[in-house]
């Protein structure tokens, strides 16, 4: 019994010895396996949310994401909506547009962005639109996040 126990323990120790180099040598394969698990996706609060709709306007491809109200459980009272302006070539010096993020046919907010200086202004139209969270160049695009009140949690 003692012998079997010792064999198990020493085998376990040797396996630990092998585990370190194997972890690093096979790290790409293991991380790809881990990445396939259902929880391995970035939370919408950090990724910006799912894409809602994409359309062309003023020579820009505009991607309006679905509003993000994710909380630990259920939804939070406040969230944001992300809008991405993607040029075909390079960003225009000024971007001025109205955005309808809830797809009801009426604009909810108006944005004015000076892409050279980064100065951005927000004109709320819908009563649930609060203020500007982030407005920044991201690679070739310009991304804006606007804070919202959750209409379902008022």
């Amino acid at each position: 019994m003692k012998t079997i126990r010792n064999i198990i323990i020493y085998t376990w120790a040797v396996l630990c010895m092998i585990l370190i180099p194997v972890t690093f040598v096979r790290s790409t394969g293991f991380s790809e396996m881990l990445a396939r698990l259902p929880f391995m996706k970035i939370n919408p609060r950090h990724s910006g949310g799912e894409i809602g709709r994409v359309y062309e306007h003023n020579n820009l491809k505009i991607t309006v994401n679905k509003p993000v109200f994710d909380a630990l459980i259920g939804e939070s009272r406040k969230g944001f909506v992300q809008v991405r302006f993607s040029p075909a070539d390079s960003l225009p010096p000024f971007i001025s547009d109205t955005i309808d993020f809830d797809n009801n046919g009426t604009p909810d907010l108006a944005l004015a962005i000076d892409t050279k200086t980064g100065q951005s202004s927000l004109q709320p139209i819908d009563k649930n639109v609060l203020d500007l969270n982030i407005s920044s160049k991201v690679k070739k695009d310009w991304v804006v996040r606007v804070n919202l009140l959750n209409p379902g949690r008022k």
Partner: protein, 387 residues
């Protein structure tokens, strides 16, 4: 009269060289990453220095029977070179050490292992990772860092904190500057403060779906990357983390000769302590040989020993297996040990079974970084520029 060494390699060149042979191959493979690049003089010099350095350290561990001082040399070098190379790469890519809204929006923030403590609860409840990073691509991708941490924890438990963590070398280094501590007594109960930090930080992050330890508290942003100061809030954050670095990583370790940040504040250290429970390696005190001088209690850098634990024959779960108590014991009563085996037999076997994976980990994390760092330094001295 000197106590004869417990290890069969101590004082024996032949046996030490024999045990060194596998490490000669391991260090070569992992320093070069399996793809040796000796295209430039800098690379060659960098490789030679790194290769000789690590094999010398391992040989000395075998020949002298001492672990901690040689481990610490590699560990401190890891911290310094990691910070150096990281900062150089940041400056090269962005022009400065700060990250901006663009990096956050693009999910380009490198994922460090400490974030793991904050993603567990949200991952369980929301099935998502609350970090603006990349799952698979880029430097320090989330999936890769989780796999690496899991593998290391299964193999070494909290040994990660003394053989792999690229931050720990900072307070390990500053704790060794003074010969004697200015603050002689530091209550071991403070080791449990890190668990309180873990609980609070995990809850705070879960509730806000934001890694708040990174956002507000992590002292090591001082030597890696941090949010650009653009508002009162970001200025406050900068003051907080710089102050914590100064207090927990420089001043208190200097005065107490303890790894204060690692022992009392790091939430990852607390989480790794839990992995010690399932790890096969631990540190054992032979109660027959121990004379209760309590030198190990005084010397333990992570406050993992107190009088009761010495009497019980083993340190607390917070032991990070650095080997300092083992080296300090004049009765050679403390050793690396395999759980479930007798504590006074096969000491060399137990030590070697631990040292091989632990030192390999140190080489893996440090080797490539050190070689590249030396190459950069040579470039700096010869051309006047790092880029």
């Amino acid at each position: 009269m000197k106590t004869p060494s417990a290890y069969s390699t101590t004082g024996k060149i032949g046996k030490s060289v024999l045990f060194l042979l596998p490490m000669l191959l391991i260090t070569f493979v992992f320093i070069t990453g399996g793809q040796p690049d000796f295209s430039g003089t800098g690379q060659v010099i960098g490789f030679i220095i790194t290769y000789v350095f690590f094999n010398y350290l391992f040989f000395r561990m075998l020949y002298t029977g001492k672990t901690d001082r040689y481990r610490a040399a590699g560990f401190i070098v890891l911290a310094l070179f990691f910070a150096f190379v990281f900062i150089v790469n940041l400056v090269r890519a962005r022009g400065n050490m700060s990250f901006s809204d663009e990096n956050i929006l693009a999910c380009e923030i490198p994922f460090c292992h400490i974030v793991i403590t904050m993603i567990i609860i949200p991952a369980a409840l929301t099935q998502t990772i609350i970090f603006p990073g990349s799952i698979l691509e880029g430097f320090a991708a989330i999936s890769l860092m989780i796999v690496i941490w899991l593998g290391i924890s299964l193999a070494l438990g909290r040994g990660f904190c003394s053989w792999g963590c690229f931050y720990g070398g900072w307070d390990d280094g500053t704790s060794r500057i003074l010969k004697k501590p200015v603050i002689r007594k530091f209550n071991p109960v403070f080791r449990w403060a890190a668990f309180a930090v873990l609980i609070l930080v995990a809850l705070w992050a879960a509730l806000t779906l934001t890694p708040q330890y990174c956002n507000w508290l992590c002292p090591f942003k001082t030597v890696t990357e941090f949010e650009k100061v653009t508002s009162v809030e970001t200025l406050l954050k900068t003051i907080v983390f710089v102050s914590l670095f100064a207090a927990l990583v420089i001043i208190l370790p200097l005065l107490t000769k303890k790894r204060i940040q690692c022992a009392t504040f790091c939430p990852m250290g607390a989480l790794c302590s839990l992995t010690n429970k399932i790890n096969v390696f631990d540190v054992k005190i032979d109660k027959e040989k121990c004379n209760s001088c309590l030198k190990c209690v005084t010397i333990c850098p992570t406050l993992s020993l107190n009088k009761e634990e010495v009497a019980r024959g083993k340190p607390s779960m917070t032991c990070c297996k650095c080997g300092k108590c083992i080296d300090s014991c004049s009765r050679q009563a403390i050793h690396y040990h395999l759980k479930g085996t007798p504590s006074d037999k096969k000491l060399t076997t137990a030590r070697m079974l631990f040292l091989y994976p632990a030192f390999t980990l140190l080489v893996i994390f440090t080797g490539g970084t050190m070689q590249y760092g030396i190459t950069l330094l040579i470039r700096l001295f010869t051309t006047g520029s790092l880029f």
